[in-house]
Amino acid sequence: MPSLFSAKRLILLLVGMIVLVVLISFTLRGRDNANPAESLIKDVVGFGQSLVAKPTHFVVERYKNVEDFLHTYEENERLKARIQDYAAVQAEVQQLQQENAELKELTEVQEDLSDYEPIRATVIARNPEQWDEKIILDRGKLHGVSANMAVMTAQGLIGKVTLVTNRTATVELVTTQNPNNRISAFVAEDETIFGLIEGYDEERRELILRRLDTNAKIEKGQKITTSGLGGIFPKGLYIGEVTEVTSDDHGLTKLAYVKPADDFLTLNQVMIAARTVPMVSGEDGTAEGEQAAEGEDSE
């Protein structure tokens, strides 16, 4: 050991450790925006990453095509059963859309909580460490992305943008354990049943919808969407389906487990939803937009 820890080296090591500990504790309290040096690194690394990721997606997609092909028969049967409902539903949707537009015109409502501008993006990386679930997209400030925007796939909501640089955006998935991550949500069929998506059960792989009224008639199988009332997300993004309803720890409110729409296994194409109604800052700590440190309020 003596040769390994000469005095000079020991001092260097100690100083290094102190600097690192300071850095860690400084950056552990999540931040809204990356500093210029960080942005630069993210953009440069992100560029290289997209060069590697895009061919990979291509290959994975081809593989999936083959897999799909093998399941064609089964799928065809299932789809045949559903297509009969489809025409009727489509007609109804069209009628409702028209009606909605007419009513909006009548009442002179211009903006709606459910309006958003979609921005398409490709996932270029997923946090390989996978402790907090993050993905990185190839769209950033230059493409109109800003922090706190909702991110979704064709299936439904998957997370929100936490950090943007010029050409990349970091997305925290809804499956992340972050006590300050809340999404105001309601039952799609009945908007009077509302609560907050708070937390994720890692074992069941399901989201937890808390603070439901005790008298709320929430049932298994109901669909949960965002309410847009948190001030950040647009209204009506599909979150998932209720799988179980119980009462919470104190028995004061109800609690429901919600199975997320997407299984988060392979994410490659996503959509960023930029809400048209201005977003609130989320500073008061009630909205899902609060940029909280993972370190705060650990249970």
Partner: protein, 174 residues
């Protein structure tokens, strides 16, 4: 040529880790298994042992910093972990007969230790609610298997590459 290749492999592995991460978690039946690729770290330990310790630690700091900034957003975590693990492996290897097999075993042991420490760290800061048994079953064992396969496949190549570089740099023929 080989000189460039040594750096190139490191950069390549750095970029491959998140791509591999895109394929994880893997679902088998009802369970979802998380594989954490530690390819770069494995390579850096090989660099430290077969080529140059200082170079490896330098790589460790640089790539650790990039890793922190790009993925983790906790700056300093991997900047710290990479050099420390490289240092530890060099120190332990002084007392063990060196060959690819013992080195691979040592790396796997260190990785298991690292994952467990990160589990403790993440439990403390509240990013995970898993209990140890679940962690062992869903994370640690799949991760060890994945990295073992990686070492088994790439270990000999790393050794070959780095020994070549070593001989080229110090003009020795062993």
């Amino acid at each position: 040529m080989i000189r460039v290749l040594v750096v190139f492999v490191a950069v390549f592995l750095f970029y491959m880790e998140p791509v591999f991460g895109l394929l994880s978690p893997v679902s088998i039946g009802q369970e979802f298994y998380i594989l954490v690729p530690r390819f770069l770290l494995i390579y850096l330990v090989f660099v430290a042992i077969y080529y140059n310790r200082k170079r490896a630690i330098l790589f460790g700091v640089i790539f650790g910093l990039l890793y922190d900034v790009f993925f983790i957003d906790i700056i300093g975590l991997y900047t710290f972990i990479y050099p420390i693990l490289i240092f530890t492996s060099v120190w332990v290897m002084r007392y063990i007969h060196l060959n690819v097999l013992t080195l691979s075993l040592l790396i796997l042991l260190l990785l298991a230790g690292l994952e467990s420490l990160l589990f403790v760290f993440n439990t403390i800061i509240g990013t995970t609610t898993l209990v140890f048994d679940e962690f062992l079953q869903l994370r640690l064992i799949p991760t060890m298997i994945a990295n073992f396969v990686f070492v088994a496949v790439m270990g000999w190549f790393f050794k070959w590459l780095l020994v070549q570089r070593y001989e080229q740099k110090y003009h020795v023929n062993t």
